[in-house]
Amino acid sequence: MSADAITLSIPREQPYYGVARLVVGGLAARLDLSYEQLEDLQLALASVLEREGYRVGDEVTIRLLVEPGRVGLEVGPLDARVEDDLGREHDGVFLGRLLETLVDDVSLGKDRDGHWLRLEKRVPKARGEPGS
């Protein structure tokens, strides 16, 4: 089965981040994620969105990818600082440690617009999916 995808582009401003959180929440409800799993995803997303230092342009895009057994979350474009922060151990902000605690897989990609952070969390089968 191919991934279902939801793409959301919002102004890179605090008041709009709630919209992204609600979309993640709606997805969590559909996938039967637990409250804790939803919290983890939202906190991971906030950790990236709310860092002004990662800002590239006036808009940020969040792609949610739903595949059997996992949900992926791509955020970008982001400034190259995100790469440095992921590599820092025991830094005060410890982005890498934080994300690795909150999700199962963290990776970083790059295109001409900037860096894209991909987060992946294993989840139970969604309601309505075959075998669920």
Binding site: Q14, G18, G25, G26, A29, E50, H90, V93
Partner: protein, 252 residues
């Protein structure tokens, strides 16, 4: 930034930082007040007077001017923006509910806080949104909305009297952390970057991200609700973002 006929930001910064020229500092503050006003306006629809936000943002601007590292090749405005925003956000954090949330949603948010804990014990796992909706006798969308509205509520400060959500005083509870935690405390908790956190926040962050406990495990261990743990974690991370990131931004 250069003002026609005047000195550039860099020249003023050099005069202030290296020559102790206070007039140069005043000029820099005055020159960048429009940036403060512009950033403050972003937060103006959240129930706080714009003038107060400009005043708070100005403190961020002054901090940025005082901390600016001349060796770094960035503009003052680039460096100052996150510091100004950080001050404004901290102001909202200290105010409790940072946006006006309808009473009904506030009540549902508090009710969900209890239900999350009750269902976690009952089900021996974290409940789903559907289970929370059923237990609260509301629609799933209402649960999501209430959870989202809860984001507008800052974690209770350490000085908050005991009894938020009927809980014991978290400070007392955290004093009872088990011995094994104390001995497992590693260097990470002493990391200078975490100095902006108070003792309780450092411990909760340590338990979550170094020891690897889940929110519900921390809640059980510390004796506060899971949602309260969640708020404390969020607040601690916000503090880290506001304090640590702007300070090292020019070197990034």
């Amino acid at each position: 930034m250069t003002v026609a006929g005047g000195r550039s930001d860099r020249e003023l910064l050099v005069a202030y930082r290296e020559g102790g020229d206070d007039e140069a500092r005043e000029l820099l503050i005055e020159r960048h007040l429009p940036l403060v006003r512009s950033l403050a306006r972003r937060y103006a629809n959240r129930g706080e007077p714009l003038d107060d936000l400009v005043q708070v943002g100005s403190i961020g601007l002054i901090k940025a001017i005082d901390r600016f590292d001349l060796e770094r090749g960035v503009e003052l405005t680039t460096y100052a923006t996150p510091t100004i925003i950080g001050e404004i956000k901290r102001y909202f954090r200290d105010k409790g509910w940072s946006v006006r949330v309808p009473r009904g949603l506030q009540e549902l948010s508090l009710r969900l806080s209890q239900l999350v804990d009750e269902l976690t014990v009952q089900l021996e796992r974290s409940p789903t949104i559907a289970e929370l909706a059923e237990a609260a006798d509301v629609e799933e969308e209402e649960v999501l909305e209430a959870l989202e509205s809860g984001q507008a509520y800052s974690a209770a400060s350490l000085s908050t009297p005991a009894g938020e959500e009927g809980e014991p005083d978290p400070l007392e509870a955290i004093g009872e952390l088990e011995h094994e935690y104390v001995v497992s405390e590693d260097r990470a908790i002493l990391e200078p970057g975490l100095a902006v956190l108070d003792e309780r926040e450092r411990r909760i962050i340590h338990l979550r991200f170094w020891v690897g406990l889940t929110q519900s495990q921390i809640a059980q261990r510390v004796g506060i609700s899971q949602m309260h743990v969640s708020r404390l974690i969020r607040r601690a991370l916000e503090k880290l973002r506001d304090e640590v990131a702007p300070a090292r931004r020019p070197g990034a």
